[in-house]
Symmetry: D2
Subunit: 258 residues, 4 copies
């Protein structure tokens, strides 16, 4: 009744040797950054140094967004009951779904659809963007990646696109992302800025990451933020306090320069 032998292409474990996608793990250590090895694990090949750098920037961009995102609320609520760190983290991760974090995946799908259309039908960027936006509007579907509850001009978007250009990673997906913004303005009469989800989506498309893994990048990025909030909760507050997540004030260091 056994399942029989099967294959994995990820890691080979032998006595005193660990090989990840063909590379010895101890050789990767010190020679490649963590984001580069994340890419290697997921895509199977080594990224360039610049791909590693843009992934570093993406992960930094999403590392935390304060206490109000549901992932933080769930993690802190669970931590407050006396849970071990990993259980509080698991609860936080369970909150990263379609409506929280999920916008990156949906935004990637729109960009892929529009770029496919452009390539397949040999139409201009603008035309592809307009046709896709029109389709979505007609079907009453939301185009994710534009506008934000809090930020009208998200500094992370600007920075990420600048870095992508600097690292030579910018291409047709980032252009398409701007073209869709234009199409939305033209067809809906509203100029919605590209939000950080939309910006990350465009860059992940440039890196040829499958959209099903968009959430993985958001989760990898956010775990350290959740760790910080869980640790603050258990070191600074009593268990089982009533927590009003909208009544928080920041009392960390004053703004400072790197």
């Amino acid at each position: 009744m056994s399942g029989g032998s099967w294959k994995t292409a990820i890691t080979k474990v032998e006595p005193n040797k660990l090989v990840v996608r063909g590379y010895r793990l101890d050789q990767l250590m010190g020679n490649l950054s963590f984001p580069q090895v994340i890419y290697l694990l997921i895509k199977g090949e080594l990224p360039t140094r610049n791909v590693g750098k843009i992934l570093d920037a993406i992960l930094v961009s999403s590392i935390d967004h304060g206490v109000t995102p549901p992932s933080c609320q769930a993690a802190v609520t669970v931590a407050s009951t006396g849970a071990p760190l990993n259980a509080a983290l698991a609860a936080g991760i369970l909150a990263i779904n379609e409506f929280h974090g999920g916008a990156i995946e949906k935004s990637m799908q729109v960009l892929e659809e529009a770029v496919d259309l452009m390539d397949r039908e040999r139409v201009s960027l603008q035309e592809a963007a307009e046709r896709v936006v029109r389709d979505y509007l007609e079907q009453n579907q939301k185009i994710m990646g534009y506008g934000h509850r809090i930020h009208t001009n998200d500094p992370r978007t600007v920075r990420l696109f600048n870095l992508a250009r600097e690292y030579g990673i910018s291409g047709k997906y980032i252009e398409m992302s701007e073209a869709i913004r234009g199409a939305l303005k033209k067809l809906r009469g509203k100029d919605l800025p590209i939000n950080v989800d939309g910006a990350i989506a465009a860059v992940l498309c440039e890196l040829n990451i499958p959209s099903e893994l968009a959430n993985a990048f958001f989760i990898i990025a956010r775990i350290p933020g959740l760790v910080a909030h869980i640790y603050e909760e258990i070191t600074r507050y009593q268990p089982m306090r009533r927590i009003d997540f909208s009544a928080v004030e920041y009392d960390g260091p004053e703004e400072r320069e790197i």
Copy 2:
């Protein structure tokens, strides 16, 4: 019945501005590596470039260990039932506990105890190590961080200690880690190599990371590995197959150089 206002020292969220531990998130992007910002979030201050580099190496060292660790088994088992990615990851994280991943925390505690003893009672490294080891042996407690089920000479340990020296991070905790190995040999007659948990423990002690957060670093490191295994499971295999985790063969790329 509201919980009233409270404080967080981690992140300030304002329209178009995100400040983490005093630094603007968009300024951190591109200027600091992800591991550096992890350190900032957890410790509250910016690390040096070299601290970021050793953290990069720690995270890379633990990024994956094949399909047999329970975290991978739990994640893949759950993925195989049709779970979304985040649920499979959460199950994997729930398997990172005292007996899987937990050795880093316990190893840090031994090192801290021994270094405290050395500093407090002004005894030599060797004497402190022997007294702590004797205490543990008398109380029939295991000293974590030495010996490994599979690896007799873990290449990750050697590499991590070499990098720590190269980056100028090596200090009394790494020395104590070797001294305890010596004491174990003398008092138990067995020469057990420092395993990767013990090596990471020593470096995290050098960085003054609280031992309660050891697990956090292991979890942050392992998530991408779990993502790769989950993605392989759902793209390569049928749902609900019987999985014999001991019957796996590696069919990834041949060994190659960076």
Copy 3:
């Protein structure tokens, strides 16, 4: 920035008074069975005694299925790492998805579709069954609730349908369940028995439970089974043992009568 006041129709908590769906909890205690109160919580109204009894039977039918279901594998794997009981349970629940447990919901949808068709178009049970089966076959979709990996004649199905008849709960959904079996035989040439998922699905349809909550009943039922396996693991075995879930033997009590 507060969320403002909102409503819940489930439970009113006042000093020394707990009111669930209008009934005082202390009055429910001793007067209604747990399954009856489950129904009350979910549907908002008290069930008859017999509805409580059929729910009891459904919950008993799914309370355990040995160590091989993925929910048990995930729970036991996590328990073996030193996790607290609730974390091991959470991992088990995360394995109850489309391909494990999910057949009840899908089976309910088929039955609802067929009964709707029969009622709407005033056709016979047989015709409705055949039209729905034909649709599914044409779209290459599997009809859930028929056939089983292990059981060719599941004793739980027979028993559940007998009890449903005895309690006066049997109706058009259970009939439709048989009609679909007939249609499958006629159109696919294969006589597949109704499995326990299909039987539970038919009864839950008779009780007018929303199909989105099918999984909830399976989870409620299975938690005690998972508890028993987790407890056996931590009291009988060493942490971190290698577990081959296909190599288990039963050493409990010999078969006996109630």
Copy 4:
């Protein structure tokens, strides 16, 4: 490298036969209540009808406590992000720990300690109670099971003890529970009522349930409550709404009689 064969004493799965602790599952269906089979699974033997009834009452007593317990907050927060039902439930369960639900286990330990002392040293109930309470007070440890944030006279406690008497289950643990209340009054000058955790603890001790499984009963009981809240959240509210858990009002049915 396989783990080899191993044993389970819980369930035997054969084609067309499921045997739980020696009893055929289809025979248990309709003859035993769900709480009776829960007992069977955990303890290995069939309970009396009355043990089943008191377990029914325990499970009903803890089935829900409104939206403010952290388990409900975590579950509803996660549900609001678009999570599937099982993921929201898992998050809720992860919040059931030392400070939420955990009082039952701790209360059982106090009762066991006091009854052990009484039996071992052949002292009176009162003396055993006073000695244990004094010990706890001297070590500055809280005795769980007395007093409540909201309820000064919890109707569930009264009801549960009455039912225990009626079912012939009342014994020395319930008496000890009252004796400890007396000792607390005498030694601390405060008359704290036995809360529902303390009452359940006393009854579970009478049933000889291991205290490590106290949490299991609380979790089994609370899952249906969490299901109801999750289902209300996703059917009644928009995803990602800001939820102020202290600002809820009950709009369910008016108080009514069974």
